[in-house]
Symmetry: D2
Subunit: 332 residues, 4 copies
């Protein structure tokens, strides 16, 4: 039985905490959140105790920590956890500052502990099927990946202000997915972005609609489409074009009932947002972490993946500002 | 908190038992199964005690029972449970003998206890969506229902021998679904059936492929297609044609990835069998039972639905034998 | 070059006449219609002359005739054409009277002329693909065929009155399709039918909604669903279930644009009616007739197919009236 | 009746010539092709005479010309036709040299003759439906267009050598489509391209796989994906994302039959290539030209559209070479 502790009793913390408690081989011993209300509520709901960070790091019973607290605490908690000999499951991003992420990566690089950066979409069953089919050679050599990723509606402007901007906050998932599927280093990034959804986002210095092109060392291409608003739901699709075929991971819909009438043929919308769409992915990524701690040979995204995704976000931002292609390696 | 006891530690008993334990408002206090191995294994897995039937019926703590034991025990257990003041959740069918079912219905008819006959497909989210849309008038007046229901492969011949035959064992779900969707008494049944899948089924006096027509008092029609073998998976679809449109509940598939190559466009098969296909339906029907016991106004299929579905099975069998339409009311 | 003459300048006559004129190996020499306005209009449109029936049958230049005139003239024209040594392409049905059809079949049975009964749906590219895949064994042995055939809206009551009723007028296409796909004699017919669409149809002694079951000598099954009204368009689908798989010929839709918005996902309706839906089938069946006259080995539906389809319609009618299964062979 | 003459008896010339002959309001009087074999064959097939260019331009009977000859003759023929008072239907591109196109545009700009540059995809019924729905506001304000355009297999290297390269030859259709759908000037182009399909294409100095980003004056975005090889057929799809919804024009497939078996669910491939896929578009664009000459108010793409599409191709090429965004207006 793997014993875990949780930092952060917000929405994503409660998902992971719940998945720990449902996991047959894992147990949530404790949680910590500086917001007492959240902490109390979630501790009761999950049936676990509360501890201070120090207690968590000093506890002999705790094998690993789930870091689901505010972004600006991630890097510190990773470093303290590793110092304390705890395995780490950390929500993305490691930090909004590339420099801080690089420091953190360096700091923990010698450790043999498991450190997982929680790019949940890698664990979505459909995207996993697609990735396995690529790896199995079903479409020959992969040449062109297209990632469509749109939220149903923009977050509150308060969130935008601390988010690090669209590329670091939202596109970062797509950057990681492009790396996951292409299996090669990305050497060039070109981004276009604009504020079309909500002018308040523009006034905050951010964009809400973007397209990004990526190319790899051998000339494979990827393109990403983002919008903060898809009126019809959470639009999460991937196309992979290869020398022998194409794979498309379609949206998952609310139901499978089709209605025919005089105005046309009508079917259900895509699932509303990430909680619904990636429910299975959250369960599966937590399971991968637990199995990895149990010594199974499971591929999990690590510190380097967190760093590389952030580099791509920085490169996209610089491309947007300068109107030219950026090699993310030059940002390192 | 609703306290329940479970009769039967087989496959379907373990599903319902597990759903009880996961339900926030229900608790499985005990189970009973004459097969000690099954009983021990499931009691440990679910963390509940074992009791004799007598202990279960005498226990003051137990509010209701789940009857998932062998079919020939259902009617007796229903009667004993009602006598003991326990609510009942009973797997279909109530009994293979129409006479026995009628006795049982009469026996418990005066009771105000909740007695639910577990026609799980009524609780499938897609079929529920379809039924709600019919009720809401989205397709005007319903005129013609088509139910496609095929198993991936035939059961062992030992099972066939005790199953009561295709109509009582398999089509019974479709008879109930037709009643659920048409919302009117069925007054005529015509059945054709044949043994095409496995000659051993024919030698056992049963059929493995069938088509059934139904018509209601006002002339609405339904048709049912059955096969014991669909090489591509569990084929569970419903079409409802009405004066203003049509609804189709499509199959649920293993994943949402589509693959394009020289030989065509390929997508995933329907989910393999009922455990996968109706996982949500099993959770939802158990939830309906619990909410019903908690005083909520929830529609649940009852003894009369169990009786009527069996009457339709008998009528289909008689139609098959006599080559003419049968009014199920004449069998009562 | 095959020279043809056309009887009947109505809607279906003008389709076939136009297809003759577009065919590289055929030529429409003349047409005849007792309604002078129709005859004049179509002769001008197609650029052909007008002849009396006698002139047509006596013309040395005419190889064959297309019989698209009123149903009650079909059998006579077939017999006269054969007597005159002309090949025949005749719209279904041969006649509404089974006795008259049998006479006609007997009358022309010794002829070596090509006599094609125009069951156009056999030539629909999608149904042809489906039939070829069945024949090629792609789904193993065929076991269960389901034919969905619904018109967008009922014809005028004047038409109903002379149509011979739903089974002889509309279902006859589906009876032929069942025979085409099953490849075996049908030995039992059970029909249910009702008047739900338009009470005037009921008052005229006809039905507008029906389900029919068929079974073959070896126990293969087919079911047919009919309605005179599908608010969403012409509903023309076929499912074929076999020992190794299933084939579904889906509807053809007005376009391939899908629209996503807050209320769902919307796509185009099925094509409106037979002129649109079977445009390619009409071209293809005329081409088959021409190629057959040119000595190619083309399968075309003949007099026997016309007779058998009508027998099935008669059997369905008798089943509807008597509430029992009818063997169409007993009607011969 | 509109009388037309055709330059060029190759594949595309024969399509347009045939569509003229089938058009009720148009007539092909003559054609010219320096390759005598082609000219003879097509003249016989279409039943028209042959003329020299001079005879064509001097003929009083000819209202307009279809320019389907080699690309390097287009601009000259346009200028001569306009000088001779003939309306013009010209295959894209006007010329591979931007300077030559600009000259030609200037030369004919004062004319009131109809000059149509044949961007056939604007006339595809599905893309027209999509564009009309955008214009009708069905998806609110358009924000992001995604165009997928892949050929089934690369052309011969001889063709590549004279094609002007991927952007001028193939992407030019997509540039025009982006302009058609966005309805706004494009002010920035970023392109990535690579040679992954056939190394001979790379040795010829061209690319075979590309992604291009475009943005408009108000910040609307478009992205284009190209490949010279889609093993599964001609991949021609468009997505348009707007403030209130999304439209997707899907591929058209070879048939509508779906096959289910143990290995999955299989449907037909997209239509093979442009002759099949855009058959209706070719008919419709010729009809638009004819109706335009008949004084109807029909929107047709003109010289300016030809120029702007080529400017975008040039901008993409420069972006590919310099690794930065290019404003096509700076190329004028």
């Amino acid at each position: 039985m793997i014993n875990l502790a949780l930092f952060g009793a917000g929405r994503i913390g409660s998902i992971h905490g719940d998945n720990v408690q449902r996991h047959p081989d894992a147990n949530l011993l404790a949680l910590h959140d500086p917001f007492t209300d959240n902490a109390n509520r979630l501790a009761q709901q999950l049936g676990c105790s509360q501890m201070t960070p120090q207690q968590i790091f000093e506890s002999k019973s705790i094998d690993g920590v789930l870091i689901c607290s505010a972004t600006d605490t991630h890097a510190d908690l990773i470093e303290r956890a590793v110092e304390a000999g705890k395995h780490v499951f950390c929500e993305k991003p490691i930090d909004l500052s590339l420099r801080r992420v690089q420091q953190c990566v360096t700091q923990v690089s010698a450790s043999e502990l498991k450190i997982m950066v929680a790019f949940n979409r890698r664990f979505d069953p459909n995207f996993q099927t697609l990735q396995r089919q690529i790896t199995a050679g079903e479409i020959g050599k992969i040449e062109l990946v297209s990632i469509i990723s749109k939220d149903p509606s923009p977050p509150p402007i308060d969130y935008i202000n601390v988010s690090g901007g669209l590329f670091r906050d939202m596109t970062i998932h797509d950057f990681d997915m492009a790396r996951f599927l292409l299996g090669e280093d990305i050497v060039s990034v070109s981004a276009m972005g604009t504020c079309l959804v909500d002018s308040a986002i523009g006034e905050a210095g951010d964009i809400d609609t973007a397209s990004v092109l990526l190319s790899t060392t051998s000339g494979k291409l990827a393109q990403i489409s983002n919008s903060r608003r898809a009126s019809f739901g959470y639009d999460q699709r991937i196309e992979a074009h290869g020398s022998k075929g194409m794979l498309i991971a379609q949206n998952l819909n609310e139901n499978a009932v089709v209605s025919y009438n005089q105005s046309g043929v009508h079917s259900a919308k895509p699932l509303r947002f990430f909680l619904e769409r990636y429910e299975a992915a959250y369960r599966s990524e937590l399971d991968a972490f637990v199995r990895s701690l149990n010594g199974e040979n499971v591929e999990i995204p690590g510190m380097d993946d967190g760093l590389k995704a952030l580099q791509l976000a920085e490169a996209a931002l610089q491309s947007l500002q300068e109107g030219r292609n950026i090699n993310p390696a030059t940002l390192a």
